[in-house]
Symmetry: C2
Subunit: 305 residues, 2 copies
Amino acid sequence: MQITNGCIEALNLALRAVAQPGDTIAVESPTFYGLLQVLESLGLRALEIPTSPQTGISIDALELAIQTYDNIKAVVVVPHLQNPLGSIMPDAHKQRLVQLCETSAITLIEDDTYSELVSETKRGDAPLRAMKSWDTTGNVIYCASLHKILAPGLRLGWMTAGRWQARVEMLKFSQTRSNEELSQRAAADYIASPAYDRHLRRLRSTLLVQRQQTAEAIASHFPAGTRLTVPDGGLSLWVELPQQLSSKQVFDAALQEQILVSPGLMFSNSLRFDPFLRISCGWPVDKEVEHALRRLGQIVRSLLP
Amino acid sequence: MQITNGCIEALNLALRAVAQPGDTIAVESPTFYGLLQVLESLGLRALEIPTSPQTGISIDALELAIQTYDNIKAVVVVPHLQNPLGSIMPDAHKQRLVQLCETSAITLIEDDTYSELVSETKRGDAPLRAMKSWDTTGNVIYCASLHKILAPGLRLGWMTAGRWQARVEMLKFSQTRSNEELSQRAAADYIASPAYDRHLRRLRSTLLVQRQQTAEAIASHFPAGTRLTVPDGGLSLWVELPQQLSSKQVFDAALQEQILVSPGLMFSNSLRFDPFLRISCGWPVDKEVEHALRRLGQIVRSLLP
């Protein structure tokens, strides 16, 4: 295992290990804008694969893309609570994806930042299975971090890179040397204690309430035709605006009142997701947040034709 | 200013900001092996410029190289206590180098990791001048860190990137996000206190003693023909072996007895520095170190023809 400066360094190292500038990387669409920025900064091309809010990346579409393009070096997938959709891949899909990547000689980069935020109900009794657990040949690079589940102030991620482990370790040493020890020791002590599990259970139930409250506020304040599905965990909601309204316009107007939302445009190199907004539910819905969501609804309404 | 994970991340970001894979970067010769590894990992070519133990990089040679090769994008220079030579550039050289780089449209990347380790005598009354201080156009990227002077366990470096500042900030965000805050706060408090200056003065006098003791032990135990000049500061000595003996052989034999030295080969992509050893003097010369230096001298002697 390699400790990294957050999951973002793990993704950088994974991509640098398997691809050269000019190569193509398949990504979910919509996808986390930070990944698109990493790809651009490394001179890599993003190939966007349709992704479902229910079951995650379309494996059929990926298979077609692999047959069509011959320079896809890797695919980056968030199997649990995909960002921004919140989808959770069924185990059968995960297994099929691992096999497809293996037979196609394409590296599967698994970004598992959010699995601990999947709701208690959805988790059930069996632990969530990482795609890496089906990997028998070292073709899956697994990346995760404590950033979203323990403390945003910590920059602690980790990765296990299968057959690229030695190259990843060389690149990590060359890029930033090893991580500082103090925060690793503090986090390790905490994770080993019963307090960590208690923290995670409390965090999941807090987020469940916040997701529901935020969704209810949106239902109350946004105009008819607004659509959203509350995901089975996580920190945000993916909201479709009515009548193909541009989220860019909503973003600009909201920012003037210091209300921050993520416009759908950011989650793709295309304009496809312009009518979507990602709204965070990382805070309790207090009066201020309730007010902001009400104003946001009014802004959306005012922009309707 | 941008805080980084040590000077090594600052160098990575500086190089990524100004060069593309395939570009050429001029470096001192011999140079820090870590820099050669960074260049290789980024797909950059190293062009080695002769460097003097007294005055640092040869500006005449660099000027010739610039006239000869048309794809040199940057030059990386350690002006104070060059690693491994220990040279300190005279101010007139620094100023001339800044001007040459500016007129040649080549970025000057200044690695100032060691300036606080220059001895009290050499420092004199005026503070050492960074090359960046002559930069009027933003063509110098200044990089430094606390790693060698405060605590090796901290990964705290920083850089100021002149006209590449915005690009460096984007790359830093994309590569590792911001550094953790805790160690920055702790270091900032300490640096602002009088204890920091006391620490630096004590460190300089300790290192002065250790350099002298190490040099004396080498003079006693190594065979005739061994050459070294004690530098005006820093953590290591650059030792030339007698009769062009290969340091690789010395390294291999010493390692078997758990004595670690850096063979000259590591400091160049050529074989030019094979007859040199870099010997650390970062520890007090106690019985164990004295014994190791004596054994090292015996090994060198045994390898002589």
